[in-house]
Symmetry: C2
Subunit: 144 residues, 2 copies
């Protein structure tokens, strides 16, 4: 392999910029990054409890509570006590939540597509394929 910059040194500023762009879009849609992450997780696959949600998005369970409060207040998620285990709160995205998430995602990916247009079609496809593959590698396997 020919000489190259560190992977993290290349990707970290890129990710930082992408997140900044995403925050700007989300602000227009009136939702925070944590809200978007939560809505996306609940939209992509059903998650029953708050602990499972926190685990799924790699957050601390204490960190998502205020986010869930706001999402519930805005009618973007529902949060009901589980009749079978009244300690737990059953989480679900609402139709409004789904709409909000998908509208935001469309704008976010439109901007990402604009950035990706800097690449050739072949490199763009390979880059997305590689990003997908690398993101599927477990944390522990990368840290070693």
């Amino acid at each position: 392999m020919t000489e190259r910059r560190d992977l993290a040194a290349m990707l970290q500023p890129l990710v930082k910029s992408l997140i900044a762009a995403e925050l700007r879009v989300l602000e227009e849609h009136g939702i925070s990054m944590w809200s978007y992450v939560v809505l996306s997780a609940l939209d992509d696959s059903p998650i029953r409890t708050q602990a499972a949600l926190a685990e799924a998005i790699g957050a601390d369970k204490t960190r998502i509570i205020s986010t869930l409060d706001r999402l519930q207040e805005a009618g973007l998620i529902s949060r009901q006590p589980d009749p079978e285990d009244r300690r737990a709160r059953l989480l679900a995205i609402t139709q409004d939540g789904r709409s909000a998430r998908r509208a935001a995602q469309a704008d976010i990916q439109a901007n990402e597509d604009r950035v990706l247009a800097a690449l050739s079609a072949a490199d763009r496809q390979a880059f997305l394929r590689a990003a997908q593959a690398l993101s599927a590698i477990p944390h522990e396997e990368i840290v070693g």
Copy 2:
């Protein structure tokens, strides 16, 4: 473009894992992430003042001072008053600093190569080429 996950959502956990791996390697070498960033910047191109260094690595000037203190104490950089402007401190990496940086970088990239081996040779080359190209896009152009 076919349906895909958000770019930031794919790359951010990857970068986080790469940084965790890097931190582990750096710990073995006895240097902090900020020290490594500073050494890399000074090794790659001469930088005269602390303000210019902070600017180059995207850090606050107040944030690098303790790092510079430690690097100087360890003999990895030199920091001398500029005779022509005694307010400024001329920075330079020492031979020991260069050795430390390059030894650390070799281990870091060896681990990155291990991760990149999950890709086909063609995708790996395209991914690195794309990462290089995308990381060269100015922050403002991505944020829009």
